[in-house]
């Protein structure tokens, strides 16, 4: 019989959004989504970043994008993992209108119990819109999830 000893990592961190990212989170308070436009390749990047990693140049031009877009992909998680959301929850990538990159986000507003139905509702190319928290706090979770656009 081998002895075992329990251990746990419980370490608090406070992460900086950076000066650039702060602008994005301040805009979220007004239910606006901002990206940055690369002066070289012209891509509108979300999350915004202070430089374009393809062109290696500063990205100082801010652009407002829509809080609507299209689904790139989806998965529904049915198992409880420590510290992660309670299942079922749908994770997807949404490409917002006006942006050239996708946003890793939660999808919702529909019954998640049957994954095949969820994949049909959120199939790639489906139009979705953000569902906002009533009183945004300037956090990414101000967007509760994206739901299908009616009609």
């Amino acid at each position: 019989m081998v002895l075992k000893f329990e251990a746990k990592w419980e370490i608090p961190y406070v992460h900086s959004a950076g000066e650039h990212g702060t602008k994005f989170f301040e805009a979220l308070r007004e239910k606006k989504i901002l990206g940055v436009k690369c002066p070289e390749c012209g891509r509108v990047l979300i999350p915004p970043r202070a430089f374009c990693e393809r062109c290696f140049v500063d990205t100082d031009e801010w652009v407002e994008v829509k809080d609507e877009g299209v689904i790139t992909t989806v998965t529904v998680t049915y198992i409880k993992f420590t510290g992660l959301p309670d299942p079922p929850y749908a994770t997807g990538i949404v490409k917002l209108d006006g942006a050239d990159t996708g946003m890793l986000c939660l999808l919702g507003g529909v019954d998640l119990s049957d994954w095949k139905k969820v994949h049909e509702i959120f199939k790639p190319g489906t139009r979705v819109k953000a569902v906002w928290k009533d009183k945004p706090e300037g956090k990414i979770t101000d967007i509760l999830y994206f739901e299908p656009v009616e009609g």
Binding site: Y13, V74, T77, Y78, F81, I93, L106, H119, I140
Partner: protein
């Protein structure tokens, strides 16, 4: 660059937990096996490259502990690059010798994912803490979103993917070091619980404890050590953007295609499926083997889905893939990439537990990060193709 060969390989048995041993005791076991395989002594090893990913084991810098299992007094370098850790550690040890600075170097990786009660919260910390973590993403969901796109674009079915799992599980039955040993068919895979749609439990790797070591030697030294070394014909490694949403098309693994082309051009490979006899690919999830076969040019885009179902990737097929049982059945994450190289080398030496007949050239691959890094190494019984 000097010509280099792999002259020794050592693997522990990989299990859910290896409660019989501490961290450095596992490392010691793998190193000793590799030295025995090469008929070398520890004093012959001039430098060590070591790989692991700290949070899975809950030990900050476990190299402090593991260096005691043979590394004390020697040059020692740690590598940690997500799932590519293992193979990039191999690449580091290889470059130690290829550079001409050392004649014999060892790569060793130890990981105890089994001691981590739940690996997904660790993997969730790999995505951006302020923009992405709330999405609940882990490794399984990241593979699942690849599967969703591939299925939508190419009509890949649940059954197509289940065959990849069946193939890997059948192969693992022949590998004494493999962790998961299940004699299963397509129905069992399809009926296993849904984890992250469309990926089911039997399409996902386990969490494994274990260690692996690989010894590299310069040409002159290698010839004296063994008459069947695995010559390193080339390596490639590549990185991509950080954010998951930055990948333009999840149905293709573009960075792997680029890395593959670089390696194949360097090694003189025109037709991968003809010139490479065995592939050990990093596929912890069924869909990833399909994407990797396509990215590396073994299959045309959208046709990788048929490879397991039609038997092409089974041991008696045209492109045997993961005859060891692969990552599907054994995943000590930070060590897994080096296991791919160990198994590819054993195939080339003719000493693998699930040996494919007449192998001369084998490919080892690993991916890591949120679909972000790839590392490749090509080994052969020939010095040059």
């Amino acid at each position: 660059m000097k010509r280099v060969a792999i002259v020794g390989v050592g693997q522990t048995k990989f299990r859910t937990r290896r409660d019989d041993k501490t961290h450095p005791e596992l490392t010691y076991e793998a190193m000793k096996k590799a030295l025995d395989h090469a008929n070398l002594e520890l004093k012959d090893i001039e430098a060590i490259a070591y790989g692991t990913m700290d949070p899975f084991d809950g030990i900050y810098c476990p190299e402090r502990w593991d260096v005691t299992s043979g590394g004390v007094g020697k040059p020692f370098m740690k590598i940690s690059t997500g799932g590519t850790t293992g193979l990039t550690t191999g690449l580091a040890a290889y470059e130690h010798v290829a550079s001409g600075m050392f004649d014999i170097a060892m790569a060793v990786c130890t990981q105890r994912v089994g001691e981590c009660v739940d690996a997904q919260p660790v993997l969730n910390t790999a995505v951006c803490p302020i923009y992405e973590r709330h999405s609940g993403a882990g490794a399984i969901s990241v593979a699942a979103i690849q599967a969703t796109v591939h299925m939508a674009k190419y009509g890949t079915t649940e059954e197509d993917l289940a065959w990849v799992s069946v193939k890997d599980h059948q192969n693992a039955l022949k590998n004494p070091n493999a962790h998961v040993k299940l004699d299963i068919g397509v129905e069992e895979v399809l009926n296993s619980p849904m984890i992250c749609s469309p990926l089911k439990l039997l399409e996902c790797c386990p969490r494994s404890d274990g260690a692996v070591a690989v010894i590299f030697a310069s040409e002159e030294v290698a010839k004296k050590i063994r008459d069947n070394p695995a010559w390193v014909l080339g390596e490639a490694t590549i990185s991509d953007n950080y954010y998951a949403g930055d990948r333009p098309d999840l149905s293709h693994w573009d960075t792997l295609s680029i890395a593959g082309r670089r390696l194949f051009r360097h090694a003189g490979i025109d037709n991968p499926i003809k010139d490479i006899d065995v592939a050990e690919l990093y596929s912890p999830f069924t869909i990833q083997e399909v994407l990797e076969l396509e990215a590396l040019g073994f299959a045309k885009k959208g046709e990788g889905k048929k490879f397991a179902k039609e038997g092409i990737t089974f041991p008696d097929g045209d492109m045997p893939t993961n005859p060891s049982g692969g990552v599907m059945c054994t995943n000590p994450i930070g060590a897994t990439g080096l296991v791919r190289l160990a198994e590819a080398s054993l195939q080339v030496m003719g000493e693998a537990s699930n040996q494919i007949p007449d192998v001369s050239t084998a490919l080892a691959h690993a991916w890591g990060g949120t679909l972000q890094f790839h590392t490749l190494m090509l080994v052969s019984s020939k010095k040059k193709l």
